[in-house]
Amino acid sequence: MMVEQVSSKVLIIDDEEVVLDSCLQILEGGPYHVATAMDGTFGLEMVREFKPDIIYVDLKMPGISGFDVLEKIHLYDPTIVSIVITGYATVDSAVEAIKKGAYDFLPKPFTPDEFRVITRRGLERRRLVLETAALRREREMLRDHFAAIVSHELKSPLGAVQQNLFALENELKDQLSEAQSKKLGRMKTSIDNLMKLIHIWLRVIGSDIDNIKENFQPTSLIEVIGQSVESVEPHAMRKEIEIRTQLDKDLPLINGDEITLREAVVNLLTNAIKYSRIGTQIRIKAEIVGDEIELSISDRGVGIAEEDLPFIFGDFYVGKSAPVAERGSGLGLAITRRIVDAHGGSIRVESALDKGSTFFIRLPILPAQPEKVQTSDTERLASTQ
């Protein structure tokens, strides 16, 4: 504990020399390094050079204001604990400063004890903030590491089991009764589902979704939608659900990754089918809205309760109204959101219980190619002449 305190650095920014001097005196002999600055500009320079743990900032100073100093400190390093010094008349502004991220305030005039207590509290706060940040970093590393462990230690043995089931089925193909074949089939399906689930977890835990940005290409949403519909069609047909598409034929291209976009659309379609009633319709629409393409997928299913709406794009959310047999991993929408985010787009939902849900994805349109601009210019010229 003492060791940590020895290196504690306190910076005081105040235009009154009396205040600076008394602060220095009060802390003298304690486990602190203290530096002072007479105005905001110099104070901010000191923040960079001195690297303080806590900073006292006088709100009323000539030149750059205490509020601005606070804001800049917070931008520079949000883990630095800042405390405002203020006269009684400006308690309101102290409250305002705390709202803006200051940790505490020191009313003028103050006794040495008050100053010491607040300093100690501030340093304790700083210690906690740093500890929290370190824990968060550790958790993130664990996350990534965990992803690697799951990938190797679970996926490989499952793959081996599946491969042997394939082999077994192959060896016994002429000898198995129908019931035995079905048992084998169930095993294969279960393992396949397990492997898919691990794959999905890896997608959510790992950071690989962000990496897709490196391979963005001009992509046609019409094609993405077409392929997605095709892949969920069997599932829809089993529930006698009709998927209707209404697409703007001249939909411009977007900059994106076809595979993950398809995954996003398939996720939304799969959900729509899952929560739809038998014999209903799902509508897909895509149109230009400003400089974006808006893709919407509407179902007439069970809908989402209003109190659940804020959570549906989070990890592991599973709709309570889902038929038990249809429940998924609760990761589909989280992955979809991440894919859309990586494409610089946005996703939102409108839903009413028992009426159905509509999911909207917006993706930025690829800026026009130079040649195209030229042709349209010449056309415009030709038509005006």
């Binding site: 490989s156 793959g159 081996a160 089991v161 491969q163 042997n164 394939f166 082999a167 060896e171 391979n215």
Partner: protein
Amino acid sequence: MANPKKFLIIDDDPDFVEGIISILEGAGYEIDARYNPKEGFKALEKGNYDLLLLDIMMGRGAEGVMVARKMRKDPKLRDIPVLIITGIREQIAYLFPGSAVSPHFVEVDELVEKPIEPALLLDRVHALLERAEARKTKTG
């Protein structure tokens, strides 16, 4: 089949290898297995194989790739067709961007993901053998 084709499989997971061997032997091929890249390459140099099945994610990372690179440099080995087996497709895409289908480590190769359905495995093996044969008649 009077003279069965002989394959080598290099993969560090013996359980997985068993599942592959059973399918290939069932189809009349003869298979040798090695469980690490070093032994695997030695066997490849000595034996007279018609095809190599190669797991590329072995040991610490993509050690299988080293086998393929060494094959490429060897005029005796570079014409052997290779079926590359991988556990994780993303890793391939990451290691070799833009060549997820056929990484072209050697002249004739193709990529499949673990686990592999018997029909798909036999189909790929067959196609690779045919391509290698066609190349031989063209160049020879």
